[in-house]
């Protein structure tokens, strides 16, 4: 079985349908009698809705309904919620404003849904929307997070004076203050973590259908976690009881966090489908997605790192303002707090850390998790600080890192996390070797001969994955548990269906999860199907995000397989007329220990169901087991990325000329898939560092509102990537898996910026470091020197 077992680069089972155009994405599904939804959205960032006249729209051909926030309120459809309660440092709860699926009384960002038009065709719905007359009273807008709390700023929500959602803190303020006071040297940085638009290539979509006979609703939806969507839409929005709402997440074309959340459009489509008695389909346009999908990042930070005279880090103080946009999205509150502040120890032993985060409302799209979610922001703070400090001290940046690396485990940081395993020296050393760091000076001279400035940048990142121990996150305010479920159903013929509460949208679960089952049961991988993304099939699950599906989802499968093996041994014992304790299961056969008596997997599966060899009193027929796995700790993937850039000092244009990634993901199930995850993560991190930024103008208009204006990384923007690994097992789950989905996006931005600042000789460089930004930094620093 080695060819398809744990550690084998098995080619993906799901690829056949994708490469032949036979996938089933939400927009590929058509329901009989389906109608189309179109949302008329606010063109203003902040405006009172004084009146809506839909009469002309209702009279347009094909129109089935023109619905407003007042209609939604009239039908008592509840508000969307944020599911993670954060308390301010004074103990007061976060200020969560109502978030109706269609704006009621006031629109709070450009793109806020104001009217829903349903028609026979999409074109008819769009035509009719043109005829709706909305009377707006435009209000002054709050756009810049750094000034959102100023007294002169308009207040967006009644519940949140000074537009402040919470003022959170973590760590020991006195200890950090004392460390800074006593420091031999302090490195200070002001950083902006630029706002990003996730831009999965499949835009969001929803189809809602109401069955009046059973009074039940079905939602096909581009979601990363169908069960949580069902729970929220039932229990909080009050759309339908949980047992009469089915959520199906079919093939989903990328998520990167942006499809975790429960969005207004899916709620509105469910509501409209029940009102008009027809299936209602909505597919987001790309420009619409720019306005209405949750964005990522958007932090303004001041950070100070204290060192003793020997270059040891003695303390860290960080103050961040996080922009959460106009409404609190599903998990938005947790991103700049427990997924950010808790990672501010990086890979380093730091005795004192204090972090303060103010989260603010602005008249911009909601901001929530985007690949890495809090951890890229933390890594950017840490890896910029360490790099800049080394340059200020005249110490090689890798030496300063080595001097401060955590090297014994478990390691309790001052910011909650207990790192369970790692070897940061090993990943740095391996990265230096693969990157040919010995040849660096020679390459730099060679670049200089061509008139180019060459720079090298490091990023020694850590992240917390395997999200997450339920009790731990519960104590921090999370409204749900973050365990995962699995069910293994063995058919009488011995084939297997594995049901998982995870959801794949590019991660290749249909292959890796089948590898686990095939490896364990000794059956061909073709005989295993992975079932996910349907609340009628999988009982419950927490979905896929936070690099959790390997560490938590696979662990649940392993736990269910333990039970399957135990039950199958009982069946085999009856078949072989032996004691259960004497049965050994290996390579798909059950053998009586010390004899040649054995029975194959398929015979045991069949006999479990025909049940002729045992009575129902001795043993229950059937072979199906479920498990819920709750992790004992987070996992801590870590590694070192090395980026080399060349900059043209005349134009500021830069090129990434080499990239080395060495990551420690613990046990790897499928290295081909894991490397692919690293590639994609790096591309998104490079996008953030060099190209991407969501820009709102002072009135709250999204200037980068389409793919014409928002610069996504293209093939020519990226180099070939050297990807390798080191391995320390995570002791926190049965297979020792750590998780790999976000590492690249976390590691990459500081690696790029550290390389560029090394090349241009000034630390003042914003993200995205476009050619213009680099050129300006060179001008400002007076460093527009000819490369010598």
């Amino acid at each position: 079985m080695a060819a398809t077992g744990i550690g084998a680069p098995v080619r993906r089972k799901e690829d056949q349908r994708f490469i032949t155009g036979r996938g089933h994405y939400t927009d590929d599904i058509s329901r009989p009698g389906q109608s189309w939804a179109y949302f008329l959205r606010s063109p203003h960032a902040h405006a009172r809705i004084k009146g809506i006249d839909g009469a002309a729209a209702v009279a347009m051909p094909g129109v089935l309904a023109v619905l407003t926030g007042a209609d939604l309120a009239g039908d008592k459809i509840g508000s969307l919620i944020c599911g993670w309660m954060i308390n301010s440092k004074d103990g007061s709860p976060m200020k969560m404003a109502p978030h109706p699926a269609i704006a009621q009384g006031k629109a709070n960002f450009v793109g806020d849904a104001v009217v829903l038009v349903v028609a026979e065709t999409l074109a008819q719905a769009m035509d009719a929307a043109e005829k709706v007359n909305v009377d707006y009273e435009v209000l002054p807008a709050v756009v810049d997070p750094a000034s959102a709390q100023a007294p002169a700023m308009p207040q967006i929500h009644e519940v949140a004076p000074r537009n402040t959602i919470y003022q959170w803190h973590l760590g020991d303020a006195h200890a950090a203050d004392a460390a800074l006071k006593a420091a031999g040297r302090i490195t200070r940085l002001d950083l902006v973590n630029n706002r990003l638009v996730p831009n999965a290539i499949e835009p969001r979509a929803a189809i809602a259908e109401y069955d009046s006979g059973t009074e039940s609703l079905t939602l096909w939806n581009t979601t990363q976690n169908p069960h949580v969507a069902r729970l929220v839409i039932s229990a909080f929005v009050g759309m339908a009881p949980e047992h009469r709402l089915r959520v199906i997440a079919p093939d989903v074309g990328g998520g990167f966090g942006s499809k975790i959340f429960i969005y207004p459009e899916e709620v509105a489509c469910l509501w409209a489908a029940r009102r008009i008695g027809r299936p209602v389909k909505w597919v987001s346009g790309r420009s619409e997605a720019f306005l209405a999908d949750a964005h990522g990042r958007d932090h303004v930070t001041h950070a100070e790192m204290a060192f003793d005279g020997d270059g040891k880090i003695t303390g860290l103080r960080v103050k961040t303002i996080a922009n959460l946009g106009a409404y609190m999205s599903t998990f938005s509150s947790s991103i700049p707090t427990y997924l950010y502040g808790t990672l501010l120890s990086g890979q380093y032993a730091i005795p004192a850390i204090y972090c303060e985060v103010d989260a603010v409302y602005t008249n911009t799209a909601p901001v929530d998790a985007y690949r890495g979610a809090g951890r890229p922001e933390a890594t950017f703070v840490m890896e910029r600080l360490v790099e800049v400090a080394a340059r200020e001290m005249g110490i090689p940046p890798i030496e300063l890192r080595r001097k401060n690396f955590i090297s014994s485990f478990p390691h309790q940081t001052p910011v909650i996390m207990s790192y369970d395993a790692g070897d940061y020296h090993a990943s740095l050393d391996k990265a230096l070797k693969i990157a040919d760091y010995d040849g660096w000076e020679k390459r730099k001279r060679e670049s200089a001969r061509r008139g180019k400035l060459r720079g090298v940048g490091f990023s020694a990142y850590i992240e917390a994955c395997g999200i997450a121990p339920s009790q731990a996150v519960g104590s921090l305010g999370c409204g749900v548990g973050l365990w995962e479920s699995a069910e293994v159903r063995v058919n009488p013929t011995g084939t297997v269906e594995v049901l998982t509460g995870c959801h794949a949208h590019g991660q290749g679960h249909e292959t890796t999860f089948a590898q686990i089952v095939s490896d364990r049961l000794g059956i061909p991988i073709e005989n295993v199907s992975v079932v996910h993304g349907d609340t009628d099939k999988v009982q419950f699950g927490m979905g896929t995000y936070g690099s959790r599906s390997g560490a938590v989802g696979i662990s649940a499968i392993v736990k269910a397989l333990d039970k399957i093996e135990a039950k199958a041994k009982k069946v085999a014992a009856h078949l072989l007329e032996a004691a259960e304790g004497d049965i050994v299961f290996r390579d798909g056969r059950f053998t009586v220990s010390g004899t040649d008596k054995s029975v194959a997997w398929g015979d045991v599966a069949l006999n479990a169901y025909v049940a002729h060899k045992f009575t129902g009193q001795e043993l229950e027929p059937g072979l199906k087991e479920g498990a819920f796995y709750d992790p004992t700790n987070f996992t801590f993937p870590a590694g070192c990325h090395v980026c080399e850039v060349e900059v043209d000092p005349q134009t500021g244009a830069s090129e990434i000329v080499a990239w080395t990634a060495v990551d420690d993901f613990g046990t790897v199930i499928n290295p081909m898939i894991v490397e692919g995850q690293v590639h994609g993560g790096i591309a998104q991190g490079v996008g953030q560092a060099l190209l991407e930024c969501a820009v709102y103008d002072k009135d709250g208009q999204l200037v980068t509102g389409s793919l014409m204006d928002y610069c996504m990384p293209r093939a020519a923007d990226l180099p070939a990537l050297k990807v390798d690994m080191t391995r320390t097992r995570s002791p926190s789950n049965p297979l020792g898996i750590k998780g790999c989905g976000e590492a690249g996006a976390i590691a990459a931005p500081p690696a790029v910026i550290n390389a560029l600042t090394d090349a241009i000789g000034t630390e003042e460089l914003p993200m995205p470091a476009t050619a213009q930004a680099v050129w300006r930094s060179l001008q400002k620093a007076g460093n527009r020197k000819e490369a010598a």
């Binding site: 490469i19 032949t20 290539i201 074309g253 949208h505 093939a715």
Partner: protein, 163 residues
């Protein structure tokens, strides 16, 4: 409404469409050929690339009436339904050139066209430059580039279909 007639994947098809119907909408909604995807509204992403008379075209950039009588090839028609995969499809699978799969049909149709125009020996910079009209958010392009180079080689000996 406007009557249209064209050939799609070797079959004659007709339709009676709103004149503003794009080719991609006609393929997806009228013919239920949903392998051709829509990823944007500004002709940037390339998820909708098909071949029209043997050339790669973004099917969101043409009204279906504009190509009356044309020969259209979509991802569903690239290989025979019951036969082996096209070498480029096989190369994408072999080299893990896809993750979520949404950009993949457009990538493969672009890649096949690239081979028709640039030959079977495609180097890394050429492939990356030629992919400027196709966006992928999952793979970082690394394995797509590898897949196209390998697929181009594997296509040796295959004649370009007559336009």
């Amino acid at each position: 409404m406007t009557a249209v007639a064209l050939t799609v994947n070797g079959k004659a098809v007709t339709g009676d469409v709103d004149p503003r119907t794009l080719l991609v909408q006609f393929l997806r909604e009228n013919l239920r050929l949903t392998g051709t995807h829509v990823g944007c509204d500004t002709s940037q992403c390339g998820a909708c690339v098909v071949h029209i008379n043997g050339k790669a075209v973004k099917s969101c950039t043409v009204f279906v009436w504009q190509i009356e009588g044309a020969d259209v090839l979509t991802i569903e028609g690239l290989a025979d339904a019951d036969g082996p995969l096209h070498p480029m499809q096989e190369a994408f699978r072999e080299h893990h050139g896809l993750q979520c799969g949404y950009c993949t049909p457009g990538m493969i149709m672009t890649a096949v066209d690239m081979v028709y125009r640039k030959g079977h020996d495609l180097d890394d910079p050429t492939i990356r430059h030629e992919l400027e009209g196709n966006l992928c958010r999952c793979t970082g392009y690394h394995n797509i580039v590898k897949a196209i180079a390998a697929g181009a080689k594997a296509m040796e000996g295959r004649a370009k279909p007559a336009a």
